[in-house]
Subunit: 136 residues, 2 copies
DNA sequence: CTTGACTTTCCAGCGTACTGGAAGGTTGAC
DNA sequence: GTCAACCTTCCAGTACGCTGGAAAGTCAAG
């Protein structure tokens, strides 16, 4: 199977697969006499795994670690649980931050609608942004 | 006022101020005979404005636009309202995405706790990640 | 006068996950 | 044989907001 075919099977591109190989996510496949990469079907599953891990919000760095454990012949499941837990914490922290920001933006916009053409203090750039956020 | 003093007054660094100048956010100040930048107090307010705008989640690109309008002598408030509205939409979209991801991660982790040592299908890297997310 | 803290410019790199393009070799159908 | 569509390597760039460092000049205190 050539690289373009593997890409078509997995919804990626040849470029990305070469990039993954260079990044240590995909092992080097055998080569045809011409130099073309020749993939066996196992590479499909590996690529699908990478995509699922990305869908779970894992970074390529995380995925590389998991795959390295797998390639040593160990079951990476414990590690995967840990990484997923950490990622969940991160995601929750991000959500909290964004909700804070959302609140701040809503407050600014409410403020912006109230005072329409008053308060044009020429010393400032724009009075709408004069208030500091409550927490950050 | 030298650049380091301005930085100290506004909680930034001299590096950052030079970067803002180069990025078109801060105008070029006058120079002393030695070549040192010499800032008047108005620059403090401008830098504070930049920080407030950043706290509202605006990008430097957005801020540059707002400041450009201000520097033309127009009141940028209408534009600011628009940018804040767009940013609020973005933030809400991001929150929705992250909540989807959070749900997915929770499902995976719940799945991971249930089946402890069963299902070790050696053909896959890790069974925990076998399920696709529901929507993405 | 010396010393150390400050300033100047310029160029380069961080991290993330790719993507684009150049210059060339291979394959397969017609 | 010839043509397009594929493949190869390598280098560089994208977006974002800085940050680090080198080499040189300036300022203020002691």
């Amino acid at each position: 199977m050539k690289i373009g075919e593997l890409a078509a099977h997995t919804g990626t591109t040849a470029k990305t697969i070469r990039f993954y190989e260079q990044s240590g996510l995909m092992p080097e496949p055998t080569r045809r006499p011409s130099g073309y990469r020749d993939y066996s079907t196992e590479f499909i599953e590996r690529l699908h795994f990478i995509r699922r891990a990305q869908a779970a919000g894992l970074s390529l760095r995380d995925i590389r670690q998991v795959l390295a454990i797998h390639d040593r012949g160990e079951a990476p499941c414990g590690h995967v649980r840990g990484v997923l837990g950490q990622r969940l914490d991160q995601v929750r922290a991000q959500i909290a931050e964004l909700i804070t920001l959302e609140t701040h933006l809503e407050a600014l916009l409410a403020h912006a609608e109230q005072d329409n053409d008053t308060d044009h203090d020429s010393s400032t750039v724009c009075w709408i942004l004069e208030s500091e956020p409550d927490n950050a």
